[in-house]
């Protein structure tokens, strides 16, 4: 009969020696590390909330981060938005043409862009650009002791680095989404004009005729949560990075993966809530 290797360990609470298999020990350690991460993230979040509502607010740094996150992402978001509108129009036209409903193309593109594609694709693009940027920046600050230097310079790193970045991401992502939507409309108009000729003003009026506030408001509200999640995860991963240089890459990478995943999860929750209240 095959013998399972057993390890003797000390029980933390009582100090007694107990016997565990290697497999059990590994699983216990995994569960332990997961629970520690959850605890760390909860403490990080509570500290963020506490610092966000305490004076003085780092307004100058907040504006700087708004510029870094918002202005420097405009180009990327504009190109992505225009391509989204263009591709959506080109792909949908044959289907609508089969039903003789080409006239509905601007409305369909507008609803798709405003309700789902604009916010989610822009948030995912921002998770890649902004999430990784924040994760790598804070991670390298940690490795080079810049965060420690802030602390001994009578600055509160949580307030100066984290609160400003999370709030900047929360307020800038909705603006970037609106920007992407606008460029998406332009892309859609170009798409329509590839095989036809439609006046821009007519295209826009047709597009907006199909959109109501019940499409626009829930979509806008969820983008604030997307921004919050992207900022929070980027900051958490960067701030809790290890001391070695490899941890900078790891922080950037895990910030992108986790924030992208959370954007999708938040979207799912937002859609369910919207579905309950908006008929």
């Amino acid at each position: 009969m095959k013998r399972i290797p057993v390890i003797k360990v000390k029980e933390y609470a009582t100090g007694r020696s107990i016997r565990l298999t290697e497999n059990t020990l590994k699983r216990t350690q995994k569960a332990n590390s997961f629970l520690t991460s959850v605890g760390d993230m909860t403490l990080f979040f509570s500290s963020l909330v506490k610092q966000a509502f305490s004076f003085p607010f780092e307004f100058k740094e907040f504006l700087k981060q708004c510029y870094e996150i918002g202005n420097k992402s405009l180009g990327l978001v504009s190109i992505t938005g225009a391509i989204m509108g263009l591709v959506l129009t080109i792909q949908s036209r044959p289907v609508l043409a089969d039903f003789g409903a080409e006239g509905m193309l601007p409305g369909m593109v507008a609803v798709s862009l405003i309700r789902e594609i604009g916010p989610v694709i822009t948030a995912l693009i921002c998770a890649g650009k902004i999430g990784s940027g924040i994760g790598a920046e804070l991670g390298s600050m940690k490795v080079t002791e810049q965060i420690d230097a802030l602390e001994v310079s009578a600055a509160n790193p949580m307030k100066y680095l984290i609160v400003t970045r999370v709030l900047a991401a929360t307020f800038m992502i909705p603006i970037l989404v609106l920007f992407a939507d606008a460029w998406g409309f332009l892309g859609g108009w170009i798409g329509v004009n590839i095989r036809g000729s439609v006046n821009f003003v007519l295209y826009i009026s047709r597009a907006f005729a199909s959109v109501s506030f019940s499409d626009f408001i829930p979509a806008l509200v969820k983008t604030f949560f997307f921004g919050f999640v992207i900022g929070l995860v980027g900051c958490y991963k960067g701030f809790t990075a290890g001391r070695g240089t490899e941890s900078v890459g790891l922080a950037a990478n895990s910030a992108v993966v986790l924030s992208s995943l959370l954007v999708i999860v938040v979207d799912l929750i937002a859609v369910q809530i919207t579905d309950m209240f908006v008929k």
Binding site: Q146, E151, V152, S153, A154, A155
Partner: protein, 261 residues
């Protein structure tokens, strides 16, 4: 104990007589998991003294000074700085105490996203809240002159060499008029000439600003230039203590291995 000849302009430091302790560490212990880094460290820093802490890499020297400003929290022990128990201070009191302590990090820790001028402005604006623009510029000019780097004012840290970064790091700490200076391996990674320049700057800082300093190093040439007293750490405990000459002539194998290579 050394005698101070220059008049001390620091009110906080003047509260202590020359033979009085500005830092008192008692039975300090610190572990990371199962690894004991500081087993039982007790040391005192006297006013206007340069205390060099020598020890092998990984012997917990940096951990020791990070505990002094509470960047790390020790497992056991007591740390008293300028008459205050560091480990029991509230956040606000700790910030006030940190305003009197300058910390030069091993990597200089300049803020990468700021120019040299902004790096120097940053602590000054936070610590001296009522400072005027004119006073601020004067202070920056003076700090840069002290480290002979006035021309670097508008440069980014990425445009500076290792030695220049250390000097700017030093300028950033002295600009706040600290009472106590903590240097974490100030000459590590520098060529002998730049190391000698940094060592001489540390001596100048003490004479000009009348600071009391703890200098963490394993550079014997640096220790020779700056030390009033030396403490050697081995296996998490204070192994030897004395002036440079005493330790240089020691017959102990461990002490000798440091001083005679």
């Amino acid at each position: 104990m050394m005698t101070a000849t220059l008049e001390n302009t620091h009110k906080e430091a003047d509260e202590f007589a020359d033979n009085e302790k500005v830092i008192e560490i008692t039975n300090l212990q610190k572990s990371f998991g199962n690894q004991v880094v500081l087993k039982d460290i007790s040391l005192d820093l006297y006013k206007r003294e340069n205390l060099v802490v020598l020890g092998k890499s990984g012997s917990g020297k940096s951990v020791l000074i990070k505990c002094i400003v509470r960047l790390m929290f020790p497992d056991k022990g007591k740390i008293n700085v300028l008459g205050k128990d560091v480990l029991s201070l509230e956040e606000k009191e700790l910030t006030d105490l940190r305003k009197k302590i300058g910390f030069l990090f091993q990597s200089a820790a300049l803020y990468d996203s700021m120019t040299v001028k902004q790096n120097l402005e940053f602590p000054l604006r936070r610590i001296k809240k009522n400072i005027t623009e004119k006073e601020l510029n004067q202070k920056i000019e003076e700090a840069l002159e002290n480290v002979s780097l006035s021309e670097a004012l508008h440069k980014m840290p990425s445009q500076l060499s290792g030695g220049m970064r250390k000097r700017i790091g030093l300028a950033r700490t002295i600009i706040i008029d600290p009472v106590i200076m903590l240097y974490d391996e100030p000459t590590t990674g520098l060529d002998p000439i730049t190391s000698a320049e940094i060592s001489s700057l540390i001596v100048d800082v003490k004479e000009k600003y009348h600071t009391s300093s703890i200098i963490i190093t394993h550079d014997i040439a640096c220790a020779r230039t700056i030390a009033d007293r030396i403490i050697m750490i081995k296996d998490g405990e204070v192994f030897a203590e004395g002036q440079f000459k005493d330790l240089e002539n020691s017959k102990d194998e461990f002490v000798n291995s440091f001083f005679k290579g």
